[in-house]
């Protein structure tokens, strides 16, 4: 019997564009089991090598198809500390699923949906998948940043018996999972669950602690046997066009942080405000831009417009996010680039002046280079502009650690094990890569944790390190 790829049920687009409830509603158990059966159990599974954390996909799918959920969950959790997160936010279509042999003739196995299903099952049945923690090694490890990279590394290190403390700059752990990715794509309760699981395994989390300010890396090195830096990317990039400081221009980071982390959509029940905007223009084509544009609609914008200088095909966002945004009535202005923010006499935003573009020869990234069409200026009327064109390295930590080697963009340089030029100090995620994805940060955390474990087997006892 031929089984077709199962579909994920979704909240109705019109309804969901006015609420923060999750868009994807998950699979029923019998649907998940059916989908898992579609896995061909390849002897040389290409999907596994497509996964940045190398989840043994055929194994957990086989166990799932047999209805052995506890074993499937255990298998998945052994490879991926945050499956309920990655099952929701990973770009599966360019990682595991693009490698699936089923995709050659038809549709690939819905690995992402199944990962989410098993991850969620594990969250609801913790007692059946307890975290196995090795005997204490007596080694202390500090992790800077409680985002996906830091949480993953902390889990891996705790499992190996190390005494782990995570330092988080914000008042809540989760990093981009709580300040950036909106509730409708990743409910905060999931992040809270994952954090609680780590804490049960002995991981300590200290919030409101900014590494580079509250403690320097040198101070951490004096108190911990090893350090993992995963403090994220940081500083938002602006367009550098006139009018960018008018009232109503936000970075996507600020806009999303106000709404997600600070719950500004509940103002005045929550204390932090956000300018809602009647017409919101979001500049950029990544996942963050989709999140901002879809958030604008949810908090009450009549029109939410994505402004992107290339075409739909070149957009770096996940296919599903673009699709969901279209369904929710987000407008797209493709081949358009902003040249100026227009404001009224009181410097409130009234529009975004843009030019039309055409695609020329490919640039260094391999994508067609957009070129301005002369005389094509026009204005998109709007009262809020959200700039979502990337981030650059945050200098807070590295500025107080001058001996650490950085590249020309200010990102930390690491070797193949994730170690910086300072012995015992490792780094991963956006502070190393520039703006990347949740799963790449997790991959870095996982690899670095393994390398740190090796390092700790022979590392000098605490207090004897030198620079």
């Amino acid at each position: 019997m031929k089984i077709d790829r199962q579909k994920m049920s979704e909240q109705d687009p019109l309804q969901r564009s006015t609420n923060f409830g999750e868009v994807n509603l998950g699979l029923q158990e019998k649907v998940a089991l059916l989908e898992a059966e579609r896995c061909l159990q390849c002897r040389d599974p290409k999907c596994v090598s497509g996964c940045p954390v190398m989840v043994n996909i055929p194994q957990f799918l086989e166990l799932l198809s047999e209805g052995n959920l506890a074993a499937a969950a255990q298998s998945l959790l052994n490879d991926n500390a945050l499956p309920s997160v990655t099952g929701r936010v990973c770009p599966q279509e360019t990682q595991c699923e693009i490698e699936c042999i089923r995709g050659n003739k038809g549709l690939p196995v819905a690995v992402g949906y199944l990962e989410r299903f098993v991850g969620d099952w594990a969250r609801g049945n913790r007692e059946q998948v307890p975290m196995q923690v090795a005997a204490p090694t007596g080694r202390k490890v500090a992790v800077a940043g409680a985002g996906p990279g830091g949480l993953t590394a902390a889990g891996e290190l705790a499992r190996r018996g190390h005494d782990v403390t995570i330092f988080e700059a914000l008042h809540k752990p989760g990093g981009v999972l709580v300040y950036g990715i909106p509730e409708f794509r990743l409910p905060k309760a999931i992040v809270e669950d994952e954090v609680a699981r780590l804490q049960q395994a002995g991981v300590k989390i200290v919030c409101n602690t900014v590494i580079g300010r509250t403690y320097t890396i040198q101070e951490l090195r004096e108190q911990f046997d090893a350090v993992f830096i995963a403090n994220g990317a940081g500083l938002p990039v602006f367009m550098n066009v006139p009018g960018e400081n008018f009232k109503g221009v936000y970075s996507a980071n600020e806009y999303l942080t106000r709404v997600n982390l600070m719950s500004a959509y509940q103002f005045p029940q929550a204390d932090t405000p956000v300018l809602v905007g009647r017409r919101v223009a979001t500049v950029g084509g990544g996942n963050v831009a989709m999140d901002a544009a879809r958030t604008a609609k949810r908090i009450g914008a009549e029109a939410s417009i994505i402004v992107y200088r290339r075409t739909r095909k070149e957009m770096p966002a996940r296919a599903e996010e673009i699709h969901h945004a279209e369904q929710e009535g987000i407008d797209f202005e493709f081949l358009v680039a902003p040249v100026e923010v227009i404001g009224d006499e009181k410097r409130w935003v009234t529009g975004l002046k843009c030019v039309r573009m055409q695609l020329g020869a490919p640039d260094a990234s391999g994508r067609a280079r957009p070129e301005i069409i002369p005389g094509s200026e026009f204005v998109i009327p709007c009262d809020v502009v959200v700039v979502s064109i990337g981030t650059r390295a945050n200098p807070l930590l590295t500025a107080t650690c001058p001996e650490m080697k950085l590249n020309k963009w200010g990102n930390i340089v690491v070797d193949e094990n994730g170690m910086t030029n300072l012995p015992g100090v490792f780094a991963g995620g956006d502070i190393v890569r520039g703006a990347a994805t949740v799963i790449l940060a997790m991959g870095d955390g996982k690899r670095a944790a393994a390398a740190m474990d090796e390092y700790l087997k022979t590392a000098p006892p605490l207090g004897s390190q030198t620079v």
């Binding site: 700059a169 914000l170 008042h171 300040y179 919030c207 409101n208 602690t209 900014v210 300010r213 509250t214 994220g232 940081g234 500083l235 938002p236 602006f238 550098n240 960018e244 400081n245 009232k247 109503g248 936000y250 970075s251 980071n253 600020e254 942080t257 106000r258 600070m262 719950s263 103002f267 005045p268 029940q269 929550a270 204390d271 932090t272 405000p273 300018l275 009181k346 410097r347 945050n394 200098p395 807070l396």
Partner: protein, 279 residues
């Protein structure tokens, strides 16, 4: 969690809270600030560390109650706890090593001037402070600053010290010569007036900016200010900048972004819709 150890009203709308924060008390430097997160659901508020006692492990926060968030904060009492205080953030003040410095403080800005004067005094720099307020009861940190050098008090109505604005007193002092640097913190119009005074005299002037902030670590970019025609983030590049290069109009304008929200929150608060006072 940070326990409030002492509370003192400094002026009709300015309150000093001494809060337990041993690490911050030990390492803070002049000019640095913290982000205060009073409780779940509260705003994150940037506040300068006005003073610190490393032995007691406390820092002093000086809060002008202007909106709901600051009012909630000053409604707290000794023995209660602030959920989170992150810092010390921002670059420390560039302190001169010798010579004579003029510190100008207006309103609650005087509390920000205090740690700068402390730092200068510690270096052996001679400090003259000019501080002002509407009337006597609005003048703060006078006694503390007197321990660090000479102090001239100005009030709008002449009820204390000399009558008039701080800029007038500053002009006289600067005209007499011998001032190597000026540090000015206060309302934007005051800082702008001071830099307009010192610019033609060629006296280097540092101001401390207080734009809207969320995280305080460079992540949100909400605190961007224009200095020398370039955009800087006050939280990581400041909060202190060369006053002669600051775009004060832009700063003042952006500070007005949430004025309407503040009024709404205050209104909701006064009409009993908010949770303040119920816990």
């Amino acid at each position: 969690m940070h326990e409030i150890i002492a509370k003192q009203g400094l002026s009709p709308n300015v309150t000093r809270l001494d809060v337990k924060a041993p690490r911050l008390a030990k390492i803070r430097q002049a000019g640095q600030f913290v982000i205060v997160h009073r409780a779940e659901g509260a705003e994150r508020i940037p506040l300068t560390i006005a003073d610190a006692d490393p032995e007691k492990g406390t820092i002093a926060l000086v809060i002008q109650a202007v909106g709901k968030s600051t009012r909630d904060l000053v409604a707290m009492e000794p023995g209660e706890f602030i959920t989170g205080i992150a810092g010390p953030l921002g670059k420390p003040t560039e302190l001169i090593e010798k010579g004579r410095a003029l510190c100008v403080g207006g309103g609650v800005g005087t509390a920000v001037v205090h740690p700068i004067a402390q730092g200068l005094h510690r270096q052996g720099v001679s400090v003259h402070s000019i501080i002002g307020g509407r009337s006597k009861e609005w003048v703060i940190f006078e006694q503390e600053l007197r321990q660090l050098g000479e102090v001239t008090v100005c009030t709008d109505d002449g009820s204390h010290g000399r009558k008039g604005f701080v800029t007038e007193a500053a002009k006289e002092l600067l005209s007499a010569g011998g001032i190597d640097i000026v540090y000015a913190v206060g309302p934007v119009p005051m800082m702008r007036a001071v830099v307009n005074l010192t610019r033609p005299m060629g006296v280097h002037t540092i101001v401390s900016l207080n734009p809207v902030m969320v995280d305080g670590t460079g992540m949100c970019g909400g605190c961007r200010v224009t200095v020398d025609n370039q955009t800087f983030f006050a939280c990581v590049d400041g909060p202190e900048f060369d006053g002669h290069l600051v775009d004060f109009e832009g700063l003042m304008d952006r500070l007005g972004t949430y004025r309407e929200f503040e009024q709404r929150a205050t209104h909701a608060c006064e009409s009993g819709q908010c949770k303040v006072g119920l816990h």
